[in-house]
Symmetry: C2
Subunit: 571 residues, 2 copies
């Protein structure tokens, strides 16, 4: 059975207990169950009663391809509701190999305690170290410093300065093998980490895995079958995921006219070819040096979607530039240069910020007259303000809602206080249902209908609610296991594999239907948690302007009926 580590930040007491009933829960499911059991829904997100949950999926530590994602959860300072944000990187597998399913940070350091803490997990001990030299250090150097000190192979979870400043746009960083910054980006979980004065968690790899299986034979059989599917698909994977990661979408999203452009006022960027996936791969290959495609962010991953984008001299600028960054930090800011986007992206990463939230806030900053579309320098200046924690920087770092409110701008691309990712719901209406209805705020990872465009026309008004609901259920199931979205198309063809994986680890026997029902339970617990938090269904909506202001090129508005929207509710 896995264990749960609890760290009381007030007393500094650290305890470890058997996971008990939580042994069957991973990732988002763990967070939903645990929050429901232990965290007062009315608590203040940055107050003493909130807990920061760092956990693995059910398959963490198994080395099954793409199953080692890390989940970070708690009550969100951005949405004021429940939050789960997940990340690639190596730490989840490292945690699981120490036998740990979850680390829970409780309480707050006493008011006078201004130390910066690091939790260090090794085979010998789990302890809190004071490392004030890390105060306000960028995420890149934090990872580097900690690996130099503890182990070059250590799993590292950390905040950037934005989290330490408790900016609501702050995410939690999880290091990939070479120190690349992966992100549990959304919902301001970095601010929760900052409130507890935890700068980082260091997991020194276990020589021998303490990961427990209920029935390893059944598990291995399922893993073999899944990996066979990946091997069979490898020629395609190599031409798509390993080359482009998620950036291949950029071209299509522009063709479909649903790409956030010019602060969500257009659905296509006229210079999209300059910053699309094809251009990115062309530059990576032409520039060489540290530039690479087809890297894996966690051990055991066969899909390898990570890439490193180099400058003209072959020196890495940023890894990975993903689709959401191309849109939110690119087209949304009218930046037609991949170098510009990569530089901004890297800076946002180093600050520990969610690139989606920050890109959307920078779009609002242009509307406020303090930055200029197409002008990288004007945006970098604002990121430098965030780094310096000036009042202006703190505003932008707080995300799109605070930025809009402070500058008196009402039309904001968000729901429940969280910025929309790279899909304008006026032209991908199913995502409008998801953004409005999910308990996670504007978040595509809970049910993205982009992938269903062949069968569900993005502009259709009927059927979007049902499909959003179905997709939300599937994603919750997938996420509970710790799987990356890139495994979806394989595993969904054979969902029996999920039940075998679960049985192999926990001994839980279930049908495929029962497996999906587990996803539904997660979503239902999240919904109920939010209602108790004081978030009522009246808040399940999109911003008014998206119902009124048409989006070129389709000149479409968001016009799904209330009835259609309600079909997407997962209560």
């Amino acid at each position: 059975m896995a264990t749960i580590v609890r760290v009381n930040m007030e007393t500094k007491e650290i305890t470890q207990e058997e996971a008990g009933k939580y042994n069957s829960y991973g990732s988002r499911g763990f967070i939903a169950r645990f929050m429901t059991d232990e965290v007062d829904p009315t608590c203040e997100p940055l107050g003493i009663k909130n807990k920061l949950i760092i956990c693995t999926g059910l398959l963490g530590g198994t080395m099954v391809s793409s199953s080692g994602r890390l989940s970070v959860g708690g009550k969100s300072p951005l949405t004021n509701g429940i939050k789960e944000a997940s990340s690639g990187g190596t730490a989840a597998n490292d945690m699981a190999r120490h036998g740990i399913r979850a680390i829970i940070f409780e309480k707050l350091p006493a008011a006078g305690d201004k130390n910066t803490y690091v939790l260090v997990i090794s085979e010998e001990s789990i302890k809190l170290e004071v490392m004030n030299e890390l105060l306000h250090m960028g995420a890149r150097n934090t990872i580097k410093t900690l690996r130099q000190k503890f182990s070059e192979k250590a799993g590292i979870i950390c905040t950037g300065p934005s989290g330490e400043y408790m900016m609501k746009g702050a995410g939690v960083v999880c290091a990939a093998p070479k120190g690349e910054m992966r992100f549990a980006a959304r919902g301001g979980m970095g601010a929760v980490m900052g409130s507890k004065r935890i700068k980082a968690i260091v997991i020194i790899p276990a020589v021998t895995s303490k990961m427990k299986y209920f029935d390893k034979a059944v598990f291995d059989e399922a893993a073999k079958e899944y990996h066979k599917m990946l091997i069979d698909a490898m020629p395609t994977i190599k031409k798509t995921n390993q080359l482009y990661g998620t950036t291949g979408m950029f071209k299509i999203v522009n063709e479909l006219g649903l790409c956030p452009t010019r602060n969500f006022t257009l659905g296509a960027f006229d210079q999209h070819k300059e910053i699309g996936g094809e251009k990115m791969v062309e530059l990576i290959q032409a520039r060489g040096g540290e530039g690479k495609t087809g890297q894996s962010c966690m051990n055991g991953c066969m899909i390898k979607c990570m890439s490193t984008f180099p400058d003209e001299n072959g020196k890495s600028i940023c890894s990975t530039v993903q689709y959401e960054n191309l849109s939110l930090l690119g087209s949304n800011l009218c930046l037609a240069s991949l170098d510009s986007i990569a530089r901004l992206n890297d800076k946002v990463n180093d600050l520990g910020l969610d690139a989606i939230e920050t890109g959307a806030a920078l779009g609002i900053a242009v509307e406020a007259g303090i930055a200029e579309f197409g002008n990288e320098e004007s945006f970098m200046k604002l990121l430098n303000e965030i780094e310096a924690a000036t009042p202006l920087g703190r505003v932008i770092g707080s995300g799109v809602k605070t930025t809009g409110e402070v500058f008196g701008i009402n039309d904001l691309p968000m729901s429940k206080g969280q910025a929309f990712p790279g899909y304008d719901p006026r032209a991908l209406k199913g995502n409008g249902v998801t953004f409005a209805m999910t308990s996670q705020g504007g978040d595509h990872t809970t049910g993205n209908l982009y992938g269903a465009r062949a069968t569900m026309p993005p502009l259709a008004c009927e059927g979007q609610g049902d499909l959003s609901r179905k997709t939300q259920l599937q994603m919750a199931g997938l996420e509970n296991m710790g799987f990356c979205i890139f495994s979806r198309s394989y595993l969904f063809k054979k969902p029996e594999l999920f039940t075998k994986f679960a049985y192999g680890i926990c001994g839980d026997k279930m049908t495929v239907e029962e497996f999906w029902e587990q996803g539904h339970e997660t979503a239902r617990l999240e919904y109920e948690y939010n209602v108790k938090s004081g978030i009522s269904p009246a808040q399940d909506k999109l911003p008014e302007y998206m119902y009124r202001v048409p989006l070129p090129p389709h000149d479409s508005v968001f016009d799904l009926s209330d009835e259609e929207m309600q079909k997407g509710r997962l209560n």
Copy 2:
């Protein structure tokens, strides 16, 4: 029957209609009923669907003493719920004498329309004028400019620059006879006015009143009886209200240890004698010149609580410095000089800001390290930033919630996003019930238990819920009529007068019980509106730190039971 004026800010169409069923509603009751009927509770407060309601009480225009208060309502950008804020000044009586119960501003100017509008009401016409010369003008000069242009006796309702910038701490200003600034301060109604680009409403007095009575004889009889009570009490009124206004409280509030001091960390200010009502009157009398006590802010008022505080040369600094200003802009900022407080108060007024919200935000600014307790200049500097609409100024002008969130400060003296007025709920627990339970956010005007201290000990844990509820009901009844709180002690002795006033104007026959029930209806409508807005009862609470951190000198925490709190709910 009274009329309702509607101004469509998109088409600029102005219409006037009979009040119909609304003829029986004034002030807070009118706003609760009208919002329920016409304004989508889920609408964005600064968006196209919100409406700005300017209305009088039922007794507006009658010249009954202290009955001419103005109410401003709409959906609040600060609390995201329903809001009624009320003010002294001459405009409500002027409106009523034109036969107008309410002015409703609907929609928004088109995106390209950047004009500054003034609504001008005269006996000849009601029209919108473009007056771009008023853009971002301080409230004092706005009043002066408009009276010079239209009539020295015109009723003026306006915003300061903070409202035009749509800062959430902005109130609506209503001019007293000599241009003194009175305030419908709370809930950010100035920002709603700013969103509609209405800088001011000018009401040129009607030569002949169009105010209608159903039965003038009954009304006059009641008025006579009420005025007789005031005349009988005049020796006391002269020694109290006319000298001190609300500032006489300051000494007692300090003795009781419930005075917000040093950013709500202490309950008494050691230098309270330097800034109390006695000191204020002493300085007004000694300095002379424009300094005066016993002024009335509206025609017909016999209580005359307004005063003008002069500088050493007898030149007016501010009128009126009230209790809430002494505490929020004084003790809360550790300022031991009435001159300092008066200068800050005047500046806050001129900017069009709520002094309570702004004083609380300035307290948080000290915590954030950008101002210094006891240092007037450090606070004036921040007010100048608000005037210049710098990012920092916009943050402070947005009130205590935004200021805290931006600076990463979690312990904020507020409920539902609105700052607490001058009563720390840890030492006046009944007000804690009111602040948490009222639909209006942290607001003492909805049910202040300070006045009940002789019979209900401020620190008692039992009975506060029931008493808060009773007081909330009474205040809603009083406010529906348009009465000032200073009339409370007289009218509550003879509540039959309320029913006679109502019958005299509208012909509504009711018992005293039915009159109180009208107040309850107002509160119930507000509660139901908020629930539909997405504000759930889970938000009916005080900040966590007030349950945990003791307040000197009593070292009391807020410790009422949930059961006790629920007794204060008015649903």
